[in-house]
């Protein structure tokens, strides 16, 4: 029982991190109908920027304080993501209005290739560390109930709290601010939104900026866990089943989907994996999402798909 709960908690924490990446997908898809495959590359790019600037800034300015260096690096990395968002809108999306979904998907794949190359050209291609002072020591809880208690990582808990905070902030942003209302209007109907005077191009820049910030946060958390390296881009592929499970257009769906996938992956790996040779977590998530889709094609929280001739 103790072991089961430990796996369960591990899965929930991992799931929270998946939802962070999934959130970036959902935001952009909601606002512009673009299925943004570049989210993984954005995570890597943001993490690389963060890692390198937090290393360079103390050298340039002669700073001692780790906190100050990290804050400055975060700001600069965020600025990089804003610039990226602006460029993507300016150079790519603006020219591809009204194209088919698959063409836009391919365009984001092109952006992925570009970002992978560009990030590694300017920031280098080694493995870097992000040190934001996350405690690495494990803690034990519920020691009274089980022998030995349940081991969880403090780091994971903090990551989950940050993720939850980000989600809450985004929900507030979407529901309460006028920009958020404009974003929802655009998501609902491009033409209608445009006809009442919402500037589509600016909305797209904003939503790519928000997705960039989500990518930065995800990059920092994943980066401090795994080290900043090229394999960080595969995190995006792990997050895809999350969004089809939760629904492409739903922010809460990304969170719940992430938790389900995280738990499913860990439990399947531990209990099912040994029977078939291990390493099943990567496809298990997809198959789980697939089976789910057969019964509910729009995902858990997605908008109902209505077909009209």
């Amino acid at each position: 029982m103790g072991f089961f709960l430990e796996t369960l908690f591990g899965g929930l924490m991992a799931g929270m991190l998946y939802s962070l990446v999934a959130l970036g997908f959902v935001l952009i898809f909601k606002a512009s109908g673009v299925f943004n495959f570049a989210q993984g590359a954005m995570v890597l790019f943001a993490a690389l920027a963060m890692a390198r600037f937090s290393e360079w800034i103390p050298q340039w300015l002669g700073l001692e304080s780790l906190l100050l260096a990290n804050i400055l690096a975060f700001i600069i990395a965020a600025l990089c993501m804003f610039a990226l968002a602006w460029l993507v809108e300016r150079l790519v999306l603006r020219h591809l209005v009204n194209q088919e979904g698959v063409t836009l998907l391919m365009a984001t794949l092109g952006i992925t290739y570009f970002l992978d190359g560009f990030g590694q050209t300017i920031f280098g291609s080694d493995i870097y560390q992000i040190n934001v002072g996350m405690p690495k020591d494990p803690i034990f809880i519920l020691e009274g109930m089980f022998e030995g208690g349940i081991l969880i990582n403090k780091e994971d808990v903090i990551a989950a709290v940050i993720a939850a905070g980000l989600v809450a902030a985004l929900s507030l942003f979407f529901q309460k601010t006028s920009t958020g209302r404009a974003l929802r209007a655009v998501a609902d109907d491009h033409q209608a939104a445009q006809s009442i005077g919402i500037p589509l191009n600016r909305i797209w820049v904003i939503v790519w900026c928000v997705a960039g910030i989500t990518a930065l946060v995800a990059g920092i958390i994943w980066g401090s866990k795994l080290g900043v390296q090229f394999s960080l881009t595969t995190v995006a592929l792990r997050a895809l089943p999350v969004i089809i499970l939760g629904g492409l257009t739903s922010v809460p769906g990304a969170i719940i989907g992430g938790l389900i996938i995280g738990v499913g992956e860990k439990l399947s790996e531990v209990y099912l994996g040994p029977m078939v040779g291990g390493g099943i977590e990567i496809w298990f998530a997809y198959v789980l999402a697939l089976v789910f889709l057969l019964f509910r094609p729009q995902g858990l929280f997605g908008e109902k798909i209505i077909d009209r001739v």
């Binding site: 194209q99 979904g101 998907l105 190359g117 089809i244 198959v287 009209r308």
Partner: protein
Amino acid sequence: MFYRENGQFKTSYRADQQIFPIAQDRWAILAIIAFAAIGVPLLADEYLFRAIFIPFLILSLAAIGVNILVGYCGQISLGSGAFMAVGAYMAYNTYVRIEGMPLIVALLSGGFFATVVGMFFGIPSLRVKGLYLAVATLAAQFFCDWMFLRVGWFTGNNASGSVSVSNLNVLGWAIDTPVEKYLFCLGFVVVFGLLAKNLVRSAIGREWMAIRDMDVAAAVIGIRPMYAKLSAFAVSSFIIGVAGGLWGFVHLSSWEPAAFSIDRSFQLLFMVIIGGMGSIMGSFFGAAFIVVLPIFLNQFLPALGGLVGVEISTAAVSHTEFMIFGALIVWFLIVEPHGLAKLWSIGKQKLRLWPFPH
């Protein structure tokens, strides 16, 4: 003036329904095939065969398969790499496990197993469509990646999943030099290309296109969506499977699952989009573009660096290659979203009028 159907009167139904109704098209296709079969082997050297012609032929075959599914039936698939893998590994198993199995039959059986797998993973297309389906087909990709790595039966218990074949021969004709490999692939491509061209203008091809253009409307006028979608998955994955077998047997001759990773799926989809969705000819254009571009960049960048006096390291070259490749793809999608096939048809239209303005 020269390229037009005026004066070519059809006197029988047979003549009216042939694949290429315009005589000039027929001659052009024959000339291309003849040049590919006779001219190219005389002119090209071994490096060109290995690096460009053989990959080009096999990948265009695979791109035709993907185009049938994505371009003609409108079902976006990111699992093409997996179907290639199934084709390659199952062809390997039939070839190795059954004594005296002829090479061509082994390759076709690889295609058959790919069909089965493709139809199985095509089932979700009956419920979901568009981008949801694209992600759903990734399940096939990751599942197959895992299966060929971890399940020992497929690879003869090789831990890294790598297998190899040697001494290929068809009816006593040993296929070992690059020219022979090229001709062998060319045979497959010509046969399957003409088959596909014929198929997409038949009743079933029109059903696929109806489903692509609007599936609800197609169902209303009496097209069975299940039959049309699954048949598209079946035909497409058969062709992709055969291409996978060729890729493994002829091009690589020893391979591991990484040869058919998700990057391969993306690459095939790129070929279809850049070549032109819903065009057999476009598959060839797309394959040529995607095969030649990285090789060109690889050769061209260090030369360019040398010209301006900058030594470009190998890592920098590969990163710059990534950047230029990505940027070119985006640029291409912006300037010609309908692909190279569209340029081709514009060219043909112009040629009809040439040299007159109207």
